[in-house]
Symmetry: C2
Subunit: 178 residues, 2 copies
């Protein structure tokens, strides 16, 4: 089965650590396998995501300090796909999602901040926009994964969780599983 991995570009230490953590948490909750942080490392991001894994289950991975250009070229050489989410790209559509799903290989979803190297636009098989307005890489990733998994990611269960939430109209109900 086609798997989805996230490549986070352009993370600026301190300024972006919460944003990158949220990118990872959305990736995990919405069905991606892991996240790669390009070119730098940030322990606060890794710690936050590992804590969530421990409490809420699953084995979403995080890899850091990966040299992005080398990684992208290897990824493509192995026959995998690169989908770059950018406000300048062609608009996401159901046809595009179906086309991606039909391809061989896994999908690398690349999200960046405002400054992303030009080479990325050339290397990517798809440059896709989630509206042509500026908003948030977290939001763009959210919509892409939502359309890819057709909303079913919202009911995803995670193995090995310590806690589970029982949905409630007025209360916080957390059940211990271990």
């Amino acid at each position: 089965m086609q798997q989805i991995i996230i490549l986070r570009m352009g993370h600026r230490q301190f300024r972006d650590n919460r944003i990158t953590t949220h990118v990872g948490l959305v990736g995990r909750a919405f069905g991606a396998k892991g996240m790669i942080l390009a070119d730098i490392s940030d322990a606060s991001v890794k710690d936050s995501i590992n804590e969530i894994n421990q409490n809420w289950g699953g084995n979403f991975f995080i890899e850091m300090n990966v040299q992005h250009l080398k990684f992208l070229k290897d990824w493509i050489n192995k026959g995998n796909l690169v989908v770059h989410l950018t406000m300048y790209g062609e608009n996401l559509s159901k046809n595009l999602i179906n086309e991606i799903k039909k391809k061989e290989g896994d999908v690398l979803v690349v999200v960046g901040s405002q400054k992303v190297p030009k080479t990325l636009y050339d290397l990517a098989h798809y440059n896709i926009s989630i509206s042509n307005q500026p908003h948030s890489e977290i939001s763009a990733l959210t919509i892409f994964l939502d359309r890819y998994f057709e909303g079913k990611q919202l009911l995803k269960k995670f193995k090995g969780a310590k806690f589970e939430i029982i949905p409630s109209k007025k209360k916080k109900i957390v059940r211990s599983l271990k």
Copy 2:
């Protein structure tokens, strides 16, 4: 027509300013009228959002330093709705969205960080979860607005923009409008 305003709770200065800015930008891009920042003020958030308004159009407003409890009580007394997005709430569904759309009054969508006062759960007409996994208030808001506007927000146009993007498979194409 029913309008949507965002109330952002629990913003911690410095740590959260990028997250709160993204909450605002998603609100703007996805069809909300404005954002209220509860209890504190943060010039960096306001500056970022105003800059986006100037370049990309629209009149998304931002109000800061609003005492949340007083604001919520006034809002409700005027016959408006409060929808609190929380991982503990009842699951979002098409029925819930339709129920909200049928109600009189405007909709305040409340998003917080992990620590939100208990009173909010009681005051809110709806406590709604976007999956029962921890992820991001940006992502939760994204899905709520997406379902509310049925995906049509992705094609929204903004009046008074200086720039417009022409969607492209490989290039950044920005057209000047002024």
